[in-house]
């Protein structure tokens, strides 16, 4: 296990070193790129909680990116630029939406759950599209970023980068503690063997719902971060293909492993970036790559680390 911790620590150090290195080599693009990757890492970490550890195949997770992003965007639209307020609303609203969707969906199983979560996300997407006030399907620009009373200027790319890095590490650590706590054990037990869990006296529903809400809230924060990163918010944040992408990050990185989501986000988005550099039709290559990954590389990247893929 020690080798594993060292490798992960080295990764964090590498990430810390990116901004000064990027400035040194006059490639500020990488600060933006990696910041975006890390934001998705947070989204993937939240999905990893319910999917990787909980076994809930939620195909609608991008909905919370949208809810969080629109929380920031809508408040900004009305001239409220207080970051504390915006981000608190992003988290709270996402938690609330997750609670409603989860209360209905978590009762169902298997393919129903997949279809229902997808359907609800699509519903929110259409909602975003049809509300002309907030830009409809064009979305809206966020001209003023979230203000944090002088503590940090999100307009400074390097400062924002380090904030996101800190939040990513925090998110991964939080999920790590959650899945090893009593709460997390029930979640993982229900995934491993539901009948057995009920037989010993667990009623998984409330735990799964709670996990769903926590995951939604965390992804809502990622949404607020993303909105500030891109400086605009559109319904495309909630596009169902985005949900699929986040899912792939979790699988690619290694389901049910702590560093998995970050590894997956890096791998997928960097590959996308690379392919997009070759051809505008990069999805025709990515699609089959993903299929191959599912068929032959199921354990994911974390499985390549010493100590194996599963953790906790």
């Amino acid at each position: 296990m020690r080798a594993r911790t060292l490798i992960l620590a080295a990764c964090v150090l590498l990430l810390l070193a990116v901004p000064p290195l990027a400035m040194l080599f006059k490639q500020p693009y990488y600060i933006d790129l990696l910041r975006r990757v890390m934001i998705f890492g947070i989204a993937a970490a939240s999905l990893n909680l319910i999917l990787g550890y909980g076994g809930l195949v939620s195909f609608g997770h991008a909905a919370y990116l949208g809810v969080g992003g629109y929380a920031v965007g809508i408040l900004a639209f009305y001239g409220i630029h207080n970051g504390w307020l915006q981000w608190a609303l992003a988290i709270f609203a996402s938690a609330l939406v997750a609670l409603v969707i989860g209360a209905i969906s978590v009762r169902t199983r298997g393919i129903y759950f997949i279809m229902i979560t997808l359907a609800f996300t699509q519903m929110l997407y259409y909602l975003g599209n049809s509300v002309e006030e907030y830009g409809g399907d064009d979305g809206m620009r966020i001209k003023v970023k979230s203000q944090f009373s002088g503590l940090i200027d999100l307009g400074d790319p390097v400062a924002y980068y380090y904030l996101v890095l800190a939040l990513l590490v925090g998110a991964l650590y939080l999920v790590h503690r959650l899945v090893n706590s009593r709460f997390g054990m029930v979640l993982r037990a229900a995934k491993s063997n539901e009948a057995r869990s009920r037989a010993i006296g667990f009623s998984p529903y409330s735990y799964q719902l709670a996990a769903f809400v926590i995951a939604g809230a965390m992804c809502g924060l990622a949404g607020a971060l993303l909105a500030n990163h891109t400086a605009y918010i559109t319904p495309a944040f909630m596009d169902w293909t985005r949900s699929g992408e986040i899912m792939f990050m979790v699988i690619l990185g290694g389901m049910g492993s702590m560093p998995g989501p970050a590894l997956g986000a890096f791998a997928l988005l960097l590959v996308e970036d690379l392919l997009a550099g070759w051809t505008q039709h990069w999805q025709v290559i990515l699609g089959p790559l993903l299929v191959l990954c599912v068929l032959f590389f199921r354990r994911g990247l974390a499985g390549l680390l010493p100590g194996g893929g599963k953790d906790g």
Binding site: A119, M123, Y126, V131, E133, G244, F248, G287, L289
Partner: protein, 307 residues
């Protein structure tokens, strides 16, 4: 809001419902029999639309183009099954979702490479362009009426095949006990390929009929696919009857909602508010309906026995 207008929208709802049914039937058959979640079902819908457009242009004849488009989709479907999907039967649903998601990306981009991203519009032959009088005083587009007719006929044929023929019996038996059917000497692999091809043909039919009414563009499959999911959840997975009932309900509710919700709301709240809330609510209507059905019947209205 005259009766004629309502009737017309009801027919439109029926037409949309019929297309949803074709898609839902294919999807639920494949899921019920092979236990396969196929997100790329929407891609087959798209392939059907595009191949038909191309075939019509190439041959200059609409009926011939339709036939070629259908056959082409059938072939594409079976190829996809043999090449990519066979390994997925034994995998869990998550793997199937992810793999078929990869296929969606592939197909959407392939279509974009071949035909570009702009929407294609098909022109119908003159004999399909007119209107007919369904009830006195109300005229309805011939083409849409034809779609309804075709859909109902296919539905009847489907019911007949599944309920009354030997193939249908094999299909139903295969759904409940694969190994048993295989032990009886039936070539399960062939059966699966045939069933999948059939499902693909249904999707292709829906796609080619959709062409003249809706835009033909990359990604069109996914828009309808999610609505098909709503149909299946409401109707119950694995059952053709559920697919039909669910499809008609969703088709009619969605169409009527989009047409009449805004003016209806305008009676109760101010016009500007109705202007904003109407379309938003209308687009959410079928999902709210789904949530309602789930609250009362968690397994849908007519679920087949679980796969």
């Amino acid at each position: 809001m005259t009766t004629v207008l309502v009737f017309e929208q009801l027919l439109n709802g029926l037409q949309f419902g019929v297309m949803l049914f074709l898609m839902a039937a294919g999807l639920t058959l494949v899921f019920g029999i092979m236990n396969l979640v196929n997100l790329a079902h929407g891609s087959l819908y798209m392939v059907g639309a595009y191949l038909t457009v191309a075939a019509v242009q190439w041959t200059g004849s609409y009926p011939l183009g339709v036939l070629l488009g259908l056959l082409g989709t059938l072939v594409v479907g079976m190829l996809v099954e043999v090449i990519a999907l066979r390994t997925l039967y034994e995998r869990d649903h998550l793997d199937q979702v992810l793999a078929t998601f990869g296929l969606i990306l592939f197909f959407n981009e392939l279509i974009a490479i071949l035909w570009g991203r702009a929407a294609l519009y098909t022109t119908l032959p003159t004999y399909l362009q007119g209107h007919i009088e369904i009830i006195p005083g109300s005229i309805y587009p011939v083409y849409r009426a034809l779609v309804i007719g075709v859909g109902l006929v296919v539905g009847a044929v489907l019911w007949y095949v599944v309920a009354k023929t030997r193939l249908g019996m094999l299909i139903r038996a295969g759904a409940s006990n694969r190994t048993m059917v295989a032990a009886l000497g039936v070539n399960i692999r062939l059966l699966y390929t045939v069933v999948f091809g059939f499902g693909a043909a249904l999707a292709g039919l829906a796609g080619l009929m959709a062409g003249p009414i809706y835009a033909v563009q990359p990604g069109m499959g996914e828009l309808i696919l999610i609505q098909v999911f709503v149909v299946i959840v409401i109707g119950g997975i694995g059952s053709i009857r559920g697919a039909l009932v669910g499809a008609l309900i969703v088709g009619i509710v969605d169409t009527l909602g989009r047409a009449f919700l805004k003016p209806l709301l305008g009676h109760f709240i101010s016009p500007p508010a109705a202007e904003a809330a109407g379309p938003a609510l209308a687009s959410m209507l079928i999902y709210l309906l789904m949530a309602l059905v789930l609250a009362v019947r968690p397994a849908g209205l007519f679920p087949a026995k679980s796969g």
